[in-house]
């Protein structure tokens, strides 16, 4: 078992972010956009990985939190409020909404919780689409400004990567702390956890609220990245996409979201020549991965590593065993 958050995991995350930052200098605007999108998706997926992967709480609401963060930023920006303030407000708002969404999780689990959170995603989507007075409806919100001095694509990429680095470091610290252990305890055995003094209610609400707040951060960086938002990217499909990122990367692995988001951003680009068949290939690949390795890419890597180590031990032991 890989540690919840090993020193190696943090180093790998830092290297990935630095690599992406350097790569930005060599890429065209579209490549830079994709890398920025990867950073934003990864932040949202890190949040969902806490809620789902570590704390074991099924959630299809992550798109709603990203949407709330994005709309919060766009609408406040239109009123001239500076980016750091809109970011803070987005975080507080999504933390609060996430906390409230955690309450159903105290009563229902698994598939039932999936339905409750699916309901929230639909509700938030409908508000974005229908409450035109607030959100602009299907027309959306345009001309979202990027914060000074990050207006340029490359500079904004570096800002997104800096945010990703900060989020990853904070998550790494939390997972290593007693909180990380308590979240895993929720997933593995809430009844036993309770008898050991773990306040299961509080930690469940925290898992939802913190995961939601990271979705809010992702949304706050997404809006200025695309500079125009409308409701459809935050519909249920995006929640499922985020869920796929977490599962494909490896739910409950610190580095899982980095890989999952990479697959989600790059695979459609690589398979672009297939046009509409792309979705079929993508679906088949995901089904095969989950059939043969439900623990995702990192689970696959871990298994291969363990097999290699076992073979190494067997080889080392062989001369002793031979007569």
């Amino acid at each position: 078992m890989m540690a919840r958050a090993s020193a190696g995991g943090l180093v790998a995350a830092v290297l990935l972010v630095v690599l992406a930052g350097a790569l930005g200098f060599a890429l065209q605007p579209y490549g830079i956009y994709l890398l920025s999108l990867w950073a934003v998706y990864t932040i949202a997926a890190i949040g969902l990985n806490l809620t789902l992967g570590f704390a074991g709480q099924m959630s299809l609401a992550q798109a709603a939190f990203v949407g709330i963060g994005a709309y919060c930023t766009a609408l406040l920006d239109a009123r001239g409020i500076p980016f750091p303030a809109t970011l803070a407000i987005a975080v507080l708002l999504t933390f609060g909404v996430g906390w409230c969404v955690g309450y159903p999780a105290l009563r229902v689990q698994g598939h039932y919780l999936a339905f409750v959170t699916l309901g929230l995603t639909t509700l938030v989507y409908l508000v974005m689409r229908n409450e035109t007075w607030l959100t602009g409806g299907i027309g959306g919100v345009s001309n979202i400004a990027r914060p000074w001095p990050f207006a340029h694509n490359l500079a904004y990429l570096h800002l997104c990567l800096a945010a990703l680095l900060a989020v990853a470091a904070a998550m790494w610290w939390m997972l290593r702390s007693p909180w990380g252990r308590a979240f895993v305890a929720l997933r593995e055995n809430p009844v036993r956890a309770m008898s050991l003094g773990v306040d299961v209610r509080r930690y469940t609400l925290l898992a939802f609220a913190i995961g939601a707040a990271l979705g809010g951060i992702a949304g706050a960086f997404y809006a200025p990245l695309v500079q125009y938002i409308e409701p459809s990217p935050f519909a249920l499909g995006f929640s499922i996409n985020l869920l796929m990122m977490v599962v494909i990367g490896g739910a409950g692995y610190f580095l899982g979201p980095f890989l999952g988001a990479l697959v989600a951003v790059l695979l459609p680009e690589w398979l672009r020549f297939l046009q509409d068949e792309y979705l079929i290939i993508y679906a088949v690949a995901v089904i095969l991965l989950l059939l043969f390795c439900p623990t995702g890419l990192l689970g696959l890597a871990e298994r291969a590593l363990a097999r290699g180590r076992a073979r190494g031990t067997a080889k080392a032991a062989a001369p002793v065993a031979a007569p």
Partner: protein, 247 residues
């Protein structure tokens, strides 16, 4: 002297079935109380009512004379009441050491303090002591899910002692544990009782284990206490024998 734990007229019914039907008893500081009784007599339901896992239909539970009926298990635990479960209850993906740290961490400082403090909440040394005490040294870094049944049972018991509780309720600690480990477990429980002054309530079917460990035994049948006294007296009580052998 006020009992550490007292049950007064506890009732718990499920859809008309009276699983616990008016149980009253008291446990005094330093006692090791055995709870015996046939399968389905209501022992585990009694534990769940005492420890907040279930809310009793009627009656009260007193801890040091204070009413704690229906208090949440996590709050009771922080008052120094700990337990083990009949079925295995460890955290399989965590290592043995991490299981033990988890068992103690919620008793250290504040929640916010724990987030910013040391990753092990300063409990590694305490966990190592417990690992040595329960002979789990070679397994400290192994995942708990990979341990044998008997080893997991020992870990389960060790976790209950991690926070230095005053009162521990053990639900069938000897079930499925081999003879050597059983002797080890009995010695550990005696040590905890003598040195730390911890009080125990032990549900157990293994009569030799109960008789050699407990200072007093109560027998429960059909949700009620039918005998209460020294181990030998209860063992030879005709009503107890009849409850086990049937009418």
């Amino acid at each position: 002297m006020t009992p550490v734990l007292e049950a007064r007229g506890l009732h718990k019914s499920f859809d008309g079935v009276h699983a616990v039907n008016g149980i009253s008893f008291a446990v005094h500081a330093g006692e090791i109380l055995g709870v015996i009784g046939p399968n389905g007599s209501g022992k585990s339901t009694l534990f769940n009512c005492l420890l907040g896992q279930l809310r009793p239909s009627a009656g009260t539970v007193l801890l040091d004379g204070t009413d704690v009926t229906g208090m949440r298990p996590c709050d009771l635990n922080r008052l120094g009441v700990s337990r083990t479960f009949q079925l295995l209850q460890v955290f399989p993906q965590l290592t043995v050491r991490e299981n033990l740290v988890l068992a103690g961490q919620e008793h250290v400082g504040t929640r916010i303090g724990r987030l910013f403090g040391r990753p092990d909440a300063g409990l590694t040394a305490a966990a190592e002591r417990m690992i040595a005490l329960f002979d789990l040294g070679h397994l400290a870094a192994a995942r708990a899910g990979g341990l044998s049944y008997g080893q997991q049972k020992l870990l389960d018991a060790a976790m209950a002692f991690m926070a230095g509780p005053r009162l521990v309720l053990l639900d069938e600690p000897a079930g499925g544990v081999n003879l050597t480990m059983l002797g080890n477990l009995r010695e550990r429980l005696r040590d905890m009782n003598r040195q730390a002054g911890a009080t125990f309530v032990v549900i157990e079917h293994n009569m030799d284990f109960v008789m050699s460990l407990c200072s007093r035994v109560i027998c429960i049948a059909e949700g009620a206490v039918i005998a209460d006294g020294p181990p030998d007296a209860v063992r030879n009580d005709p009503t107890v024998i009849e409850a086990y052998l049937g009418h």
